[in-house]
């Protein structure tokens, strides 16, 4: 379990209002300008009776690296399938690089790393190098072979038969496959699912570098830490809807960042409410919980105020708490899952 809150965890619950969180964050993201790389307008996609995407709106500007964060079944893979034209929307419209998804794909302007379940996603009976060479030749203006190999860091794997790759290595090779055509826009669906911590780190480093060359990247993940650390912007989806949208830091701020808890015999709500950084005060008998935007300042003010208190605890609201608050999903799945 990766600890996202930089402070001491307690068992106390953080549960700010989800409505407020998303409205605060949405206002900020709309400031972003530039040419659109992709656009979802009121997209609905059903599987039988199940509504996978429920009037989803999403816009990504060229050059952005955006994380699509959500629990399993939130609609992340469906979103990516629609962006690639593998699925058609039942309602609403999808636009990619100013054209239809299929058109963008056939022009070779899009690359993708899809989820493959237990399969490698690579052709059997060939070496990594020849599979990559083939993919290059399917594009009109591919990146130089050596450059793709370097970008994906798979130099050591080129001579290896595709069935002799570990899960993590296969994913690295599939990243190379995704970028072999030198695409402007790359979709990655849970790209680090089978990787260990070390390869995950180097994978994101390479992906960031690729993004810094002016590429637009949209990746789906349910690893909160990845979304926070790697993306310029995090779009949280749940049950087929966008529930929050903004930089990871803003998402965290959107849900009262810290909670300061202590026990006090005669808590004075009015006084506590005026302490620096405090946004909300909850008193239950002798138990006091202060929501604060600046826990350090609040504690300093608390000490100066001469309020007697004991059992002081500071609970962090990391992105994980934000995620829980926004999706109402208690089991935020952030285990470094082994394949």
């Amino acid at each position: 379990m990766v600890d996202l809150s930089e402070t001491h965890r307690t068992d106390s619950k953080v549960r700010p209002s989800a409505g407020r969180a998303s409205s605060v964050v949405r206002a900020r993201s709309e400031v972003v300008g530039g040419d659109p790389a992709l656009r979802f307008d009121g997209v609905v996609r059903r599987y039988g009776d199940h509504v996978a995407l429920d009037h989803l709106d999403l816009a990504v500007v060229q050059g952005e690296t955006v994380a699509l964060l959500g629990p399993n079944g939130a609609g992340k893979s469906t979103t990516i399938s629609l962006l690639l034209g593998l699925l058609r929307p039942h309602a609403g419209s999808v636009e990619v690089l100013g054209t239809s998804p299929r058109q963008a794909v056939s022009q070779g302007r899009v690359g993708a790393m899809l989820q493959t379940g237990s399969g490698s996603g690579l052709p059997s009976g060939v070496r990594v190098g020849s599979a990559l060479q083939l993919v290059r030749r399917l594009y009109r203006r591919p990146a130089p072979f050596d450059l793709t190999v370097e970008r994906a860091g798979i130099g050591a794997l080129l001579g290896r038969p595709t069935h002799r790759l570990s899960g993590g290595q296969a994913q690295q090779v599939r990243f190379a496959v995704a970028i072999a055509g030198d695409p402007e826009l790359v979709f990655l669906d849970e790209p680090t699912a089978a990787m260990d911590v070390e390869s995950r780190r180097s994978f994101w480093r390479m992906m960031r570098q690729f993004g810094e060359e002016g590429r637009t990247i949209l990746f789906a993940t349910h690893h909160l830490q990845e979304a926070d650390q790697v993306a310029d912007r995090v779009v949280v989806v749940n049950r087929g809807r966008v529930v929050a949208n903004g930089p990871g830091a803003t998402l965290k701020a959107a849900v009262a960042t810290r909670q300061v808890c202590f026990v006090s015999r005669r808590p004075d709500e009015h006084l506590l409410d005026r302490l620096e950084g405090v946004t909300d005060v909850t008193v239950r008998g002798t138990g006091v919980t202060l929501d604060s935007l600046d826990a350090d300042a609040t504690i300093r003010a608390l000490v100066r105020s001469n309020v007697e208190f004991s059992g002081l605890e500071v609970t962090g609201a990391g992105l994980e708490e934000a995620f829980v608050a926004l999706t109402g999903c208690d089991a935020a799945p952030d285990q470094g899952r082994a394949p």
Binding site: L86, G125, R137, L138, Y139, R140
Partner: protein, 250 residues
Amino acid sequence: MSALVAFERFEVARLLRSWKFLAITVGFPVVFYMLFLNDHSPGKVVDGTVTWRVYLMVSMCSFGALVAALNAGGSRLSTERSSGWARQLRVTPIPAWSYVATKVTASMVVILPVLVLVELVGMAFGGVSLGVASWFELTGLLWVSAIPFAILGVFVGFMVTAETAYPVVTALMFVLGYFGGLFNPVGHMSPSLQTAARILPSFHQASLGLAVLDHRGLGIEDALVLVAYAALLGLAVVWKHRVEESRGLA
């Protein structure tokens, strides 16, 4: 266009580099030819003027083509669909139909050397001797008439999963081989089995080749049945491909 050529070359190279594929595709018809050659005396006339050694050679050419097509298409295609490679190709610039087209043509490319190899075995071990023109005519005819097999292989690949591919492919190989009269002269089979044979493409494919050697000319009925099979299976593949596409699977 160069993209499709690259894809085609990749597919053919991948088939020819697979020991498993080659062992099955070449092994079955060649070994069966040697095994069954002395089931009857090789010189015995079994069909019109055609002797057993020639009949079995033509039959094993058909069988080889069938085995090649079912293994190139059926097993591999289903594996690729479940591994995610087929889907990965869908997000590259090549058109959706090219996947199916490349599979069918790759099967056709590998079928040709299989035919030639079985003919060489017939020549070397069965004592088959034909005129140069007859060899070319026979080979060309058997090759073109293997198109329904190639399409069948791809169709099977779309219908089965990676787990069910092996039994289904094996069953089809032997049903089409045995009931199509490839292991025994059709004339020696019971009337009901003879009727069954006439329904199967394998019977008509071999029959097309035998008719030429028997100087019966081009078997129009055989040709029509094979064209019908190719058309029906082709439509079935297109239908299945469309269904998968609409579900985002293909």
